[in-house]
């Protein structure tokens, strides 16, 4: 892990990998969208609206994946004192938050035709909403603390505490949901998923994951550049 310590090695690798990653993302998206909009059938009950699943499920998957990604690199930063790990966690947060928001937006758009209201306190949507709060809290820590070293130390703790509480929140919200059973129980993904539907869904999920990795790689490059700028600016001010 130490060999990534100096950013230059990481940057060379990132610059080498990036074009391929962008190409893969583009290919996956065209395949996924083609599958989602054209080849996969309409649902016998919901009709066309089931196609929202192809943007909702991958978005919520990335929303959760990004938070796990953040918690993992925060743990790495805590245990191995690795400077790049903090940057990896910090840059993953805004991307994860956007996808989390997307999951909420598409979820509520999908809910309207099914449940007739824009928002239902369904277990999954509620957990996703709370995950959004955890993201905002984490990002707010980076904004609130100027000194980068201190901000990293506090953000690490917030990410790890969040990742410990998340399963507990999921458990309590699911239990709470069964307690107050909503009127009509309608499985988000529809009763049975057809193979063509599943194929489209998986391709879209892969496309979203590739997109996340691409955006994260670019953000990492920016973060490293910012760090160099900050150090050189400190250097100028003190002149030593």
């Amino acid at each position: 892990m130490q060999k990534f310590a100096n950013p230059t090695l990481f940057l060379n690798l990132a610059n080498a990998v990036l074009p391929y990653l962008i190409a893969i993302t583009a290919v996956l998206f065209t395949l996924g969208l083609y599958g989602a909009l054209v080849t996969s059938p309409a649902d016998y009950q919901q009709g066309e609206t089931v196609r929202i699943m192809y943007v909702h499920v991958p978005a919520s998957w990335i929303g959760m994946f990004a938070y796990g990604f953040m918690a993992f690199f925060s743990a790495v930063a805590l245990i191995f004192r690795h400077p790049l790990a903090d940057a990896a966690a910090k840059t993953a947060a805004p991307i994860g938050a956007v996808f989390c928001f997307l999951a909420l937006a598409t979820g509520s758009i999908w809910g309207k035709p099914m449940w007739g209201t824009w928002w239902v306190w369904d277990a999954r949507l509620t957990s996703m909403f709370i995950l959004m709060l955890l993201y905002l809290g984490y990002i707010a820590v980076w904004q609130a603390i100027e000194e980068p070293f201190l901000a990293a130390a506090i953000a690490r703790i917030v990410a790890l505490v969040g990742s410990i509480i998340l399963p507990i929140i999921k458990f309590s919200v699911d239990w709470w949901n069964t307690l107050h059973q909503p009127a009509s129980v309608f499985k988000m993904g529809g009763p049975a998923i057809e193979t063509r539907m599943l194929a489209a869904l998986l391709t879209m999920a892969l496309a979203y994951t590739a997109l996340f990795l691409t955006l994260h790689l670019i953000s990492m490059r920016t973060e490293i550049a910012k760090r160099k700028l900050r150090q050189s600016r400190l250097f100028e001010i003190r002149g030593n």
Binding site: E147, Q231, L234, R238, N240
Partner: protein, 198 residues
């Protein structure tokens, strides 16, 4: 009271806010010695005291205390600019807390604060607050004293009190490291200059 105390620093370096304050600093301080840290502002006098008190991690090098079983931090008193005084509590309650917390006994006499014992700390002047903070030295017996500009704000009688207290401590085999420009009245005090500005 304390025998064979030796505090040794080897190629000590300190960094704060990404900037190198000082590096490869070496010194050895034995029991009964008073060391005065001299140097311009920002030279790292306070940072060195905080390193010894284990409040900060050194960027490099090592600090070792031999001649005492316990860990360095539990053998040291650090009197800095923050006086750790609760305005709402009385003078005695403030000192009692630190005495109970670090297994000692409150002793207001050496810095003659006994008349103010039952006044609320809120009413104390700057000098009196300083004397209350210094009273921790004589309430909890610890061999290593780390004083950050102890004489600031003290009147003449308080400075003499401080000199007597330091003298008694050094005679008992303790050691004192003070960042100060004032004369602490100990004839063979050693001086360590921190260049500052690296």
């Amino acid at each position: 009271m304390w025998q064979g105390l030796v505090l040794e620093a080897k190629s000590l370096a300190c960094e704060r806010g990404g900037r190198l304050i000082f590096n490869n600093l070496n010194f050895v301080v034995g029991g009964g010695e008073l060391v005065e840290l001299r140097g311009p502002n920002g030279a790292g006098k306070s940072s060195l005291l905080r390193l010894i008190a284990k409040l900060n991690e050194p960027a490099a090098g090592s600090l070792r205390l031999s001649g005492s079983a316990q860990d360095l931090a539990t053998q040291a008193h650090y009197i800095g600019h923050h006086e750790a005084i609760k305005p709402a509590l009385t003078v005695k309650e403030n000192l009692d807390f630190w005495a109970n917390f670090q297994a000692g006994a409150a002793n207001l006499a050496p810095f003659n604060l006994h008349q103010l014992a039952h006044d609320e700390a809120r009413l104390l002047s700057e000098g009196q607050r300083r004397r209350l903070s210094l009273s921790r030295l004589v309430s909890v017996m610890r061999p290593i004293w780390l004083l950050d500009e102890p004489t600031v704000g003290l009147d003449q009688s308080a400075v003499t009190n401080l000199r007597n207290v330091i003298k008694a401590h050094l005679v008992m085999g303790g050691l004192v490291i003070a960042a100060t420009h004032a004369d602490l009245g100990w004839p063979n005090a050693r001086v360590i200059k921190l260049a500052g500005g690296g």
